[in-house]
Amino acid sequence: MKKFLKKVLPLVISAAMVLGIVGCSTNGSKEQTDANKSESNDDAQSAVPTDVLVINGLGDESISFTLDEVKAFEPYAKEIKSLTSSGEVKEASIVGATLTDMLESKGYSTANCDSIRIVASDGYEIAVPKDVIENKEIIIAYEENGEEYTKFGAFRSVIPDERAMYWVRGTVELNFEYSETVSNDIKNIVFMENMGSDIALEDYTYYESVDKAMSISSLIDTYVNIGSATSGAFVASDGLETEQTLDVLKAAYLKMTGENAPLFISPDMPKGMQVKGVKYFNVGDTCFASLSMLCASEETTELQSVLSDLGMTGASYLAIGTDGSETSLQGTAVSGSTFEAEGDAFYLVNDEESIKIEVKTIQQQ
């Protein structure tokens, strides 16, 4: 036995060393591939468990549902249609559970909530407003066109007959919000196209073009009394209304030239959160309004209709021009004024009152 070990042991040790050294060298090459793979996935997305739906804001503690738990509810199956921001109609056959059933199982409901913020695994988030919550069923779908979701996560929130922006792939969180987060108490309107040198325009690469954009953080710092506002609201020229948190806003830009301008955009923002053709953007006590969008719509060329849209009910206003001139607006000076474009310039015009101002801001007095 001893003799046998004497013969075999050195061979075994040698072979092990050879295998070890060769193994190390091939592992080195393998690590290059793995490093390459993990580097490009180094973000929060990979850390989020996507087969669990977490619901916050209903009680002191979050509640959650696993895929199996969601499947245990009475299945809601429906052929659904949605409208994308580009006007395309999308159809799908989905199976899921209604949010109503899910909440009831834990003793909760959507009653009294002002909005539900849907958060996806890739960072996309959107707030579902109260009127949609009250009138539509929110579905937590786990199957589409006969197949379960695998790529982005196990769930997709779906609101039948609503815009595709509420159809959120990889839904991981629903945050119930109860307080009125958007201030409707607008005191100032700032016109995006006439801000002049107040705000620096920066070069911004948008697909193949380089456009001009302004940082929303600069806009807020320059014009807004933020008060207790924790979010801002957008109204687009196509009727889209959406809300974003202050953190999202501060990292974002308004692209003022080129395709889809004014465009709400941020380098880290999922494409679905962009807002094309922004007409109004409200935050704190200020509304940023696009004169190009107002003038393009027959409904909003009149000053009075813009003030009504924004809930500004004062009797007296002060219009400040790009040249610093100040004009008091009251009575017919308000009701008879319209926004007009002349070439690249935009004016507030009232022929009867002999008003023609390249208007930068309008402040409620």
């Binding site: 004497k6 040698s14 050879v18 060769v22 580097e39 490009s40 690469t205 380089v210 494409k271």
Partner: protein
Amino acid sequence: MPSLSNRGGFLLGNRKYIQIFILLVFLSILVHVLLNVGGKNQDVIDAYEENGFYVQKVQSYGYNMEVPIVIEVKINMKTNQLSEVQVISHEETEDYGGYVTEEWFLNRFIGKAVKDSLQLVKIMPKEENEVVAITGATKTSQGFLNGVNIAMENYKKEME
């Protein structure tokens, strides 16, 4: 405790095995050197010289972690600059990373010097080695750029 003479006997009796051991160690070191110095990065699928250009096919992962983006990178060996980059295949999301095949994106790489690794930026390039990501497709852009960097590094190694 074995005596010194016993130890000497063990060594002398196993001389043959010691020789085999040394030979195997030598061979394993040779294999190691061949794989790590002369061998290629696994992400470089193919590499060859053609009419003054160094052409490489490399793979890298973007948003789709299952299927790599396969890229062809052509380097001008006279100027040491990127002369052409092309996507051979990919399975990135059509509406986002699908733009990786667009000429306007690929052109952002042309003329870049291979001496410095490329860096991805999101809004505007400020340095010569910076490349702007595709709007809304940072992961795909980073994956593609990683692939080009692999090709540039491999080229530099080959030219040493």
